[in-house]
């Protein structure tokens, strides 16, 4: 059984004084299997947060169906015992202290001893010393850490994360990445929406790209990056005449570095030999998720 299943999911908003219809999701079909770690990508307004809102029952779809863990999500459903949600905006109860807020959220999840359950998470995210600080006085990063703890507190089977790394310092990003990897190893399914493609690339094994409410790509990270044309990053010793096969050449520290397309590689090697240039390095450079993303979204925009 899929953890998440949507069929022809559509959301239409009415915006402005004239109540003009805006299509936020246009027939999204999505399946997420147990144990997957899925990245949900797309420009601003592509429909990522709307999709997450539908998965959580916070937004009612105009048409189509959505099930998570075999049930239709509605606010306050019992199935949320097995779901952890990290909202995009750190909108926690500002009048409560970190400890009070976590106790409140944890007790609602049915955790008897929230202090004990949150201790490890607070320590790992370097939030333990701030537990008596009112949330209103917390920095953006601290609020995000509160969100992470409340989301992981009950060891959920499904994690829905909206811009999870937002506002976090590098150490916290690393700690959170480890926590997510551990949760995933323990069997948790993760769906994360993010603009930080490097983070998604490190965590997710599959990526879904949305554009104007439509699904335009759904593939593994490996496939998405592999299908882009490979290129070779080369470096030669500094020379007066730069080989014309070298794309975007730059001179750095007595070297000339650049990119060579696979088709131009034999000609490049011939020139290196004929002109007696010194080849320092030549390495296959796989496309990053960012490049793959830009290429896919660019193709759609041109189409």
């Amino acid at each position: 059984m899929s953890v998440i299943e949507t069929e022809q999911l559509q959301v239409v908003y009415r915006a402005g004084l004239r109540r003009k219809p805006v299509q936020a999701l246009a027939g999204l079909d999505l399946r997420v299997e147990p144990g997957e770690c899925l990245g949900l990508l797309g420009h601003n307004g592509a429909g990522k947060s709307t999709a997450l809102g539908c998965l959580l029952g916070l937004i009612r779809p105009t048409a189509g169906t959505v099930t998570i863990l075999g049930q239709t999500p509605v606010p306050g459903a019992e199935l949320f015992r097995q779901v952890g949600y990290l909202p995009e905006e750190p909108t926690y109860h500002p009048h409560l202290t970190v400890r009070e807020a976590l106790t409140y959220y944890g007790r609602l999840q049915g955790i008897a001893d929230v202090d004990a359950a949150s201790e490890g998470l607070l320590e790992r995210l370097d939030l333990a010393r701030w537990r008596d600080l009112p949330i209103a006085s917390c920095s953006k990063g601290m609020k995000q850490k509160v969100g992470i703890v409340q989301c992981l507190l009950h060891a959920p089977r499904l994690l829905l994360l909206d811009e999870p790394m937002r506002g976090l310092d590098p150490l916290a990003v690393m700690a959170f990445r480890e926590l997510l990897a551990e949760a995933n190893r323990d069997g948790a399914t993760i769906v994360m929406s993010s603009h930080l493609l490097g983070e998604v690339e490190q965590l997710a094994r599959r990526v879904v790209i949305l554009d104007r409410g439509r699904l335009i790509a759904d593939d593994s990270v490996a496939n998405l990056t592999r299908h882009r044309e490979p290129r070779y990053a080369v470096a030669i010793a500094a020379t007066d005449t730069w080989p014309p096969e070298l794309e975007a050449p730059v001179a750095v520290d007595g070297e000339v570095r650049g990119i060579v397309a696979p088709a131009a590689l034999p000609a490049f090697f011939d020139r290196v030999r004929d002109d007696r240039l010194t080849l320092i390095s030549c390495a296959l450079q796989r496309a990053s998720l960012e490049e793959a993303y830009m290429s896919i979204v660019g193709e759609i925009s041109h189409a």
Binding site: G53, L56, I59, H93
Partner: protein
């Protein structure tokens, strides 16, 4: 369920306690009240003590009512506007339970305010040597039921409208406004003024006036209690009727607020 209801209620009570707006409004009302009442505490003959005590009790009742009336509106619109409800609704526990806790927390504050008022009245009656009349207690309990009506109406409006708009709607379109309108319409009809417009407006005004909840039910019938602080069997009957009426208003408002909440989206839109 009971534990979750209490968890929400306790969170709301903390919210009231730590809110600078609630504190500021409370202090402002308390300050104005003190200025009005302080002269009563100085001087005055023994014969006039009863009237002073009655005045203090009435003022305390109004003060408690004012402080607690808008709390439901405040907490509802705050959580709806800053989207902190997202964290609650993505946990087990129905939204109705959360809504019930909003009503409950505001009612707890209303009851506490009236209880404090009743205790102050009792202490003053002992200090001034004025026999404590059961009417003081009656007024405090009656004020809790009256506060419940206003809390329910404002909370429901807060679930649908912007808090400022909700407050304006409450102030402008309440029972008193439509009572005056109804009186005016009836008067014009009796004097044969108005024509077709009056004929069309009259049933509408009557219908709205009938539907709108009374803020002070049976006020006219219980003026004797306010005057003498003595309570007859009939007055207790009116108190019971007020309780039943306020319970009905709270129930209807709860259902309307629940429908309004159910129709809302609780997430960002893109």
């Amino acid at each position: 369920m009971r534990e979750r209801l209490w968890l929400h209620t306790a969170a709301h009570l903390r919210f009231y306690r730590r809110s600078r707006i609630v504190l500021g409004v409370g202090l402002a009302i308390l300050g104005l009240w003190s200025l009005t009442l302080l002269p009563l505490f100085f001087g005055g003959s023994n014969a006039g003590r009863f009237n002073q005590l009655r005045s203090v009790a009435q003022q305390l009742t109004t003060l408690g009512w004012l402080l607690s009336a808008a709390l439901g509106l405040y907490v509802t619109s705050t959580h709806l506007r800053n989207r902190s409800l997202q964290v609650i609704l993505t946990r087990p526990g129905s939204p109705q339970l959360w809504l019930a806790s909003v009503f409950a927390s505001a009612l707890i504050v209303a009851a506490a305010m009236q209880a404090i008022g009743a205790v102050v009245t009792l202490v003053l009656s002992l200090a001034w040597g004025v026999p404590y009349q059961i009417g003081f207690f009656y007024m405090a309990v009656n004020a809790v039921f009256q506060a419940a009506i206003v809390i329910a109406v404002l909370t429901t409006l807060g679930a649908v409208l912007h808090p400022v708009v909700a407050f304006l709607v409450f102030v402008l379109f309440n029972e008193n406004t439509f009572e005056s309108l109804r009186f005016g319409v009836e008067l014009m009809k009796a004097q044969n003024h108005g024509g077709w417009f009056l004929e069309g407006a009259r049933p509408l005004v009557i219908a709205i006036h009938t539907v709108l909840p009374m803020q002070y039910p049976f006020e006219g019938q219980t003026t004797g209690v306010v005057q003498s602080m003595r309570v007859t069997g009939t007055d207790w009957g009116y108190l019971l009727a007020t309780a039943v009426y306020s319970f009905a208003v709270v129930a209807v408002c709860f259902l309307l607020a629940e429908v309004a909440l159910r129709r809302r989206s609780f997430a960002t839109t893109t």
